[in-house]
Symmetry: none
DNA sequence: ATGAACGTTGCATATTGTGCAACGCCCTCG
DNA sequence: CGAGGGCGTTGCACAATATGCAACGTTCAT
């Protein structure tokens, strides 16, 4: 909507990939060097970008500070964190917390597995929305019309043979998740990794976040992981209670 | 330098203070509502800002994703290298850079001593984790429980009479290193070789790497080497600053 | 019902960002 | 040592672009 700002902001993801010099930035933006220079200067003044010793540009400290504040303002995370830690303490596996925002599902917190074989995931990165347990939980709470609208727009990549194949299957699964109040991902994203998840609800009953426990086959079988379901659900409920203003229960 | 971008970016710190509606943003920017709207829309399209359910604007999780990605693509070695070279230029001794990975501490960069008598080490090779200065620095940053767990699992080979003898001594030393912010290895690995090291920290204050200067007794005594400590620490701090996105200080 | 508060849109204006060309600097190669 | 290329930087003329205005649509409280 604003060309100048649009161009300036496009520089950020570009620099997130790694440092770049003026020419590279100008090329990838499709603008003249002098234009890129002015944009970079403005970003620089705001501390979002800085120049490292070899003169190349990089994302700056201010961005990290802002990012920090951005997550701190997500207070679900703050409340949930100790519960996630406690859960990890009990079962030892990787625990994730995710929210839906702007057409995406994002991990906003993670407690690493204590086992040497770990699952790869990145806090802040969008999750595989068509297969992840947390994504299904978050989407299942939308009104039906919206669920359909979203499903229609999605791609359904076949990560594995068990990935959700298409919109119809996805909607069916969302309905089931909505019904039962929990979700799984059994090898839908990576063949050897399973997850069990449960929703976190606000005072009005709407799903505000979702959490899951993930573990690779080599550590526990899907069946064993499913045995953790009651524990996961209880944790999610405890977080929900605290989040919606009730005193933490013992 | 670019008014439009300047205004748009000024919105971010403003929103970091807390959610705000269109009118508030326009007021604080000193521009018309319609202008503020367009700026916010552009920020919105890039996911830096999003609209919560009550229509107010807040910082978006994409900011977090961006910062995360930037950190992942950051190469400590690349940033550190020129600083290591400069340090070697000044003192002439061997300079090492190391990281912790998968239960091991690995040298990932090295600048050779200018003296004929050199210390033997290889980039990519695990270091003697119980005695090396860089290892102590990296491990000292772990939470106490984890430090203990790691220490219990280690062997404590008696390379020399000054090698760390057991887990208890090791933990005690880690605590001290953590406290003082630097570490040494005085003949703990090879009788005649001493090292001084300092930690390199990321934007969040966590230790991401460690560096050290090593020299054999025949070139400088331990005392003389220790006199380099302030220089080593300053170098490590300069790298930390640059790594965490601050402008290099003059 | 009525009005206020807020977000949104189209439009005319000139402010603002743009590309160009030229300059200076550093480094490399002949 | 001097020519040449690469790169960042500056000043300028032009028009593309952002801006404020005024009017409209909604929602909410009175």
């Amino acid at each position: 909507m604003s060309q100048t700002v649009d161009r300036a902001l496009s520089i950020l993801p570009l620099l997130a990939e790694g440092p770049a010099d003026l020419g590279q930035v100008a090329d990838r933006l499709g603008v003249h060097k002098s234009t890129a220079l002015r944009l970079l200067r403005t970003l620089h003044e705001h501390g979002l970008v800085f120049r490292q010793s070899d003169q190349r540009y990089r994302l700056g400290a201010r961005l990290f500070a802002l990012a920090q504040e951005a997550v701190e303002n997500l207070d679900v995370r703050e409340i949930a964190h100790p519960h996630l830690l406690a859960l990890n303490e009990k079962c030892g596996h990787t625990v994730h917390l995710a929210v839906y925002e702007e057409q995406e599902v994002l991990y906003i917190d993670k407690v690493e597995s204590r086992y040497p074989v770990r699952m790869y995931s990145r806090i802040g990165k969008p999750v595989a929305i068509t297969v992840a347990a947390v994504a299904k939980l978050l989407l299942s709470d939308f009104p039906e019309a919206e669920r359909r609208a979203i499903a229609e727009k999605l791609d359904f990549p076949a990560y594995t043979s068990r990935s959700t194949p298409n919109a119809a299957a996805f909607l069916k699964e969302l309905a089931q998740v909505r019904e039962q109040g929990w979700a799984t991902d059994l090898g839908g994203h990576e063949e050897s990794i399973n997850c069990v998840g449960a929703p976190i609800r606000g005072a009005d009953g709407r799903v505000v976040a979702a959490m899951s426990v993930s573990a690779p086959n080599v550590v526990v079988t899907a069946e064993e992981l499913l045995r953790l379901l009651p524990l996961v659900r209880r944790t999610a409920e405890a977080i929900s209670r605290e989040y919606s203003g009730h005193a933490p229960e013992k």
